[in-house]
């Protein structure tokens, strides 16, 4: 204890001499400012990398896209149109300028505007990810808590073993393999749900299930482990010493304190699920960004790839921001601590 100086309690709110000082002194304002700065830095890196992607590809990307048989003057014309003949710095400035006006360039193969393509494809992907995430949360938290309560203190070893091994196995199966299995069982064998396309609520069932099952079990495992860890904490013993009814102990004292890590993992899972749609979409021929990015990579249609990578990356960063803000709200200590 003597080795590190104790983090002192927050100084009592000093009477603010001016509004600005009060604002600067407000831990929330400082936290949000710091966090926004980090988001901007991350976005800058993301944009730079997306821009550089085309230039990191060995060889001439335009030649690669148009194929070896394309006439040289067509390649040259396309290079000129894409601005690839300008100095790198000029290209970067142009890229940024276009980006800020919402212009992500045009497809090398189809000539369609990239932002238009993304605009068409985004809702399908976002819908899939959001529905799957909601399913994960609704299923995993109660399941994890219930398992923690049932198996606390080494009780019901059988239940524990069943749950941990089943969830470990299922969570280890990647979404696209799960998707194939689901297609086989519910599409081919039983014929209950459509196995391709996006039409009506029924078409959501299998993709959502494929995307949500693994993360849900993973999340339930983590909720259980976290809740068990919290149950070992001193303050839960205090709550028991107050002889509170067990339900109250779990809901008021255990769960809120297991929330922090649940949120953190939830954020990671959501990021993973947003990108995981790529695979699931390709199994179910789901008309989203994932289908588009894969076909674009194969067709070497780099502007489209660039645009979609940017959208995925931005979505992930946004999720991280939301999670951090939620964490700050959930944990009264985190706002004064370093973020």
């Amino acid at each position: 204890m003597t080795s590190t100086p104790v983090t002192p309690p927050a100084a009592p709110a000093a009477s603010a001499p001016s509004a600005v000082a009060g604002w600067v002194g407000n831990p929330w304002a400082r936290f949000l400012l710091r966090r926004a700065g980090r988001l901007l830095a991350s976005l800058a890196v993301l944009v730079t990398l997306a821009f550089l992607m085309i230039h990191l590809i060995p060889g001439d990307p335009v030649r690669a896209a148009l194929g070896v048989t394309a006439p040289p003057d067509l390649v040259e014309a396309r290079r000129e149109a894409l601005g690839l003949n300008d100095p790198l710095a000029v290209q970067f400035v142009d890229y940024l300028r276009a980006l800020f006006s919402g212009d992500l360039g045009v497809s090398m193969t189809s000539g369609v505007s990239v932002s238009e393509t993304i605009g068409q494809r985004l809702p399908a992907t976002a819908g899939l990810a959001v529905v799957a995430f909601v399913v994960v949360m609704l299923a995993a938290i109660p399941l994890g808590l219930a398992m923690a309560v049932l198996t606390r203190g080494g009780r019901r070893r059988g239940v524990e073993l069943g749950f941990t091994s089943t969830s470990a196995v299922v969570a280890a199966i990647p979404e696209f393999l799960l998707a194939v299995g689901l297609v086989f069982v519910f599409g081919v064998t039983l014929g209950w749900f459509p196995v391709a396309g996006r039409e009506g609520a029924a078409s959501y069932v299998l993709p959502v299930l494929a995307l949500a099952l693994g993360p849900a079990l993973l999340m339930a495992r983590i909720v259980r482990v976290e809740a068990l860890a919290v149950m070992d904490e001193d303050f839960v013993r205090t709550a028991r010493a107050k002889r509170l009814p067990p339900l109250r102990v779990y809901l008021r004292h255990v769960f809120p304190n297991a929330l922090t890590s649940t949120l953190t993992i939830g954020g990671l899972l959501l990021s993973g699920m947003i990108v995981g749609t790529v695979l699931v979409e390709n199994v179910f021929a789901w008309p989203g960004m994932g289908m588009t990015i894969v076909s674009s990579i194969l067709a070497k249609d780099y502007p489209v790839v660039q645009g979609i990578v940017l959208v995925y990356g931005a979505a992930v960063l946004l999720v991280n921001l939301v999670v951090d803000v939620l964490l700050a709200i959930a944990d009264p200590r985190s706002t004064i601590r370093e973020g």
């Binding site: 204890m1 003597t2 080795s3 100086p5 104790v6 002192p8 100084a11 002194g25």
Partner: protein
């Protein structure tokens, strides 16, 4: 063995609002061949001072000298060795205790020379030399702390800094480690800075006692004098609060003042003037005319007062409220 001295040593952590001077302008001398006990409560900066001396934390200001010569290069730091509080954390769990000790032996004595040195050191701390090949996990807390002491001595240090070396140990083995410290001191004439939160432990091993509060030395002097006639009210508070046999909890002492009910001051924002004034039983909160405590820092003139006490009223301090009976 040589003399270690701190001159205006300051250690600051962090920046901006979270900045904190864990050690703030400390002057302290550990004379050659003597044991200086440093007491203070958690967060007073006593461990940080030791870490600054061995170079584990950088000093912001001031100088640490060995026999008057400033200590700077890494090589010099080996002249000082530190023994840590928790013997379960301070030994590499994957290294035999012999290897841990040998690592600290200076120079390249060769395999046999090293083994002989390790055996000699183990014997010095009352451990069987044949245990050199065992891992720390096979040792008890007290034995580990002996190994840690042996490792510190292996470097042939001029000064040993012992940081709370008994507080992580079981009650029944604390005594044997303290006995060892006293024996080693007698045998080797160790120069030592002995840090503890426990005044009684410090009293048992030290020639000189220094008391630290909120990053500063508030009083320092010969052990017997500091204990029998403390000059700083904080020292008195510590003395009064220490549990002792035959003294009931009900006998009120100045330390029971309501002033202590409030939050202790934050090291991020130390009080102006005397840092103890908001909790001081003889300060402005009980004697209103003593406004000097709020206005003026007692530190600068400390050297002229008895026990170098950082208290404006050190000279007219009454003797300790509880005489330590001679036995």
């Amino acid at each position: 063995m040589r003399e270690l001295s701190f001159h205006g040593v300051t250690v600051r952590f962090g920046a901006g609002r979270s900045a904190l001077a864990a050690v703030d302008g400390v002057d302290l001398t550990v004379p050659a061949g003597s044991v200086v006990g440093l007491v203070g409560e958690s967060g007073s900066g006593k461990s940080t001072l030791a870490k600054a001396a061995v170079g584990l934390v950088p000093t912001t200001d001031g100088e640490i000298r060995l026999d008057g010569a400033p200590l700077r290069a890494r090589r010099d730091r080996r002249r000082l060795q530190m023994v840590f509080q928790d013997p379960y954390a301070s030994l590499d769990p994957r290294m035999t205790i012999g290897a841990s000790i040998a690592e600290a032996v200076p120079g390249r004595p060769g395999r046999t020379g090293r083994a002989a040195e390790v055996a000699r050191l183990l014997e010095l701390v009352d451990l069987d030399p044949s245990r050199a090949g065992s891992l720390p996990s096979g040792l008890s807390g007290g034995q580990r702390q002996r190994v840690a002491l042996a490792r510190a001595l292996a470097a042939e240090p001029d000064v040993v800094l012992a940081d709370e070396i008994t507080s992580a140990l079981d009650v029944s083995v604390q005594g044997s480690v303290l006995n060892l410290v006293r024996d080693l001191r007698r045998q080797l004439g160790l120069t030592m800075l002995f840090i503890s939160h426990n005044l009684a432990v410090v009293r048992y091993v030290s020639d000189v006692i220094a008391v630290m509060y909120l990053g500063r030395i508030v009083e320092a002097g010969p052990a017997a004098e500091v204990l029998t006639s403390p000059r700083h009210p904080y020292t008195r508070t510590l003395l009064d609060a220490a549990p002792r046999f035959g003294v009931a909890l009900d006998d009120p002492v100045p330390a029971d003042s309501e002033l202590l009910d409030d939050e202790p001051p934050s090291p991020h924002d130390p009080p102006p003037g005397c840092r103890f004034h908001r909790r001081c039983p003889i300060g402005p909160l009980t004697v209103p005319e003593r406004t000097v405590c709020v206005e003026k820092d007692p530190q600068p003139a400390a050297a002229d007062r008895p026990h170098r006490a950082a208290c404006h009223f050190a000279s007219d301090a009454a003797p300790a409220s509880l005489e330590v009976p001679a036995r």
